[in-house]
């Protein structure tokens, strides 16, 4: 086995070579997934908290559907966004198809149910502990949402990371709505698919190693931050 067939060697030369095309791909991957997770969190955190606090008819159905959507296949999400954004589709005039924007939209749809469903669980258990005290203090339900979200912040960090894991790992949705266009919508996962189909397995694996390392790094950072804060706050 020659050195160039070794995926670790390939990964290392890619990183050390500071290849600007690799850099672009990594940057776009992170950009799309981070923006998608940020937007999804903005919507899903209050949504999950509201679902934890409010009792309304059909609530259980909503919870079951949300939990089921956690397993939504990325290709299905991609297909739906594709149909919405294609020229003939209802949002075709936005001209988003085959742009990073479309990829963000697809990933938001994938990540939102995960963050909302897990947030609901976290907030519901915290609310059990806080309910009487907050009620006694005269805190209104709408005001409870930011209170509980803030006090559950360390658990919710893990929830957001789960969403980020989903976004950065999926390939089906970004492939369909992005189109894997070189220099425009090519991200790590779609490159890996492409290189695999071309038979360039060392490069595909090398890219995989870089992707895994990046995700590990982000998770490690979040873990350190939350452990330090937990120790400080008890």
């Amino acid at each position: 086995m020659s050195a160039s067939d070794n995926p670790f060697y390939t990964a290392l030369t890619l990183i050390l070579g500071m290849d600007h095309r690799l850099f672009d791909i990594v940057a776009l991957s992170l950009q799309v997934s981070l923006i998608a997770v940020a937007l999804a969190s903005l919507l899903a955190l209050p949504l999950g908290a509201a679902l934890a606090l409010w009792r309304f008819p059909g609530r259980n159905i909503v919870i079951v559907m949300l939990n089921a959507l956690m397993g939504l296949p990325p290709v299905v999400a991609g297909l739906c966004v594709y149909l919405l954004l294609s020229r003939a589709g209802p949002l075709g005039h936005w001209g988003l198809l085959f742009t990073p924007g479309a990829m963000v939209v697809a990933q938001v749809i994938l990540v939102l149910p995960i963050i909302a469903a897990l947030t609901r669980q976290q907030i519901e258990s915290l609310h059990q502990e806080y309910a009487e005290q907050l009620h006694s203090l005269g805190v209104r339900p709408l005001r409870m949402i930011p209170t509980l979200l803030w006090d559950a912040r360390f658990g919710l960090l893990t929830v957001i990371l789960a969403g980020f894991g989903r976004a950065s790992a999926e390939v089906g949705a970004v492939m369909i709505v992005g189109g894997n266009i070189d220099g425009v919508t090519r991200v790590m996962t779609t490159s890996i698919v492409l290189e695999t189909s071309k038979g360039n397995l060392p490069l595909a694996l090398g890219l995989g190693i870089i992707l895994l390392s990046l995700v590990t790094l982000i998770n490690a950072l979040a873990h350190v931050v939350s452990e330090m804060a937990k120790r400080r706050l008890g």
Binding site: E132, Q133, H135, S136, L137, L233
Partner: protein, 240 residues
């Protein structure tokens, strides 16, 4: 003396009219009629499971009765409650207090100064930046009392606030209860500690098996209780 009587008439009396409470088919509170009035320290006594906490939660509005009526005669006064195990937010001691002021719509600029003032009063000033949940049990309960103090309540409910504390911490809590009382706050407190009741009570409600068996002035209660259960409880016999 004169001051005290004017204060005491200010707080609306709280009436329980045949209030009962059921949960999943179990009757936890028999139809009960009591009145809390004036600026007294009423201690609710009785063994565990007698319904002391239940009575207070109904009075404070945390639970709705299954039947009967809990009624304030007049405007509902400002109330606060201190629980057996204090529920503190996952924030610093100071932020636990400023949070309450924010809820009460106190202007942001005044919150910190007022909170520090109260921390000082309860001997917690040095701990203001410490996370509330790493404080000791006694400090946590004092912080809960400080939080109640900020609300300036007319009625303060306390649900066995000293049951998990050491003697020094118990003393601090009882001093705080008396400070509230001297400010003109009606105290309604559950305890199963006879000595504590002797130290604090103006009148006693004795509960047993989901019933309020008697509501009498403290000295009468300890000298001549009229229910055999209360008499046994005072003698220190195990009743349940």
């Amino acid at each position: 003396m004169n001051v005290e009587t004017t204060i005491s008439t200010d707080i609306a009396p709280l009436h329980f009219d045949q209030v009962r409470f059921e949960h999943r088919g179990h009757r936890l509170l028999m139809p009960t009629s009591v009145t809390f009035s004036g600026c007294r320290r009423t201690l609710i006594m009785g063994p565990n499971g007698a319904g002391k906490s239940l009575l207070m939660r109904l009075a404070h509005g945390l639970l709705r009765p299954s039947g009967g009526q809990v009624r304030w005669q007049g405007a509902t006064p400002v109330q606060a409650m201190v629980f057996q195990r204090p529920v503190l937010l996952r924030r610093s001691a100071l932020e636990n207090l400023t949070y309450v002021l924010a809820i009460r719509r106190v202007p942001r600029a005044q919150r910190k100064a007022r909170a520090l003032d109260v921390l000082e009063r309860f001997g917690l000033a040095a701990l203001s930046k410490r996370p509330a949940r790493v404080l000791s049990g006694g400090e946590q309960q004092r912080l809960a009392l400080a939080r109640a103090w900020l609300l300036d309540p007319s009625v303060l409910f306390l649900d066995e606030p000293t049951s998990a504390l050491d003697p020094a911490a118990i003393k601090a809590v009882e001093d705080a209860v008396n400070a509230f009382h001297q400010q003109g706050t009606r105290i309604i407190m559950a305890t199963h500690d006879l000595h504590q009741a002797r130290r604090l009570a103006d009148d006693i409600i004795f509960m047993y098996g989901g019933q309020a068996l008697e509501h009498t002035p403290a000295d009468r209660f300890f000298d001549i209780p009229h229910s055999p259960e209360a008499a046994a409880f005072i003698r220190g016999e195990l009743v349940w």
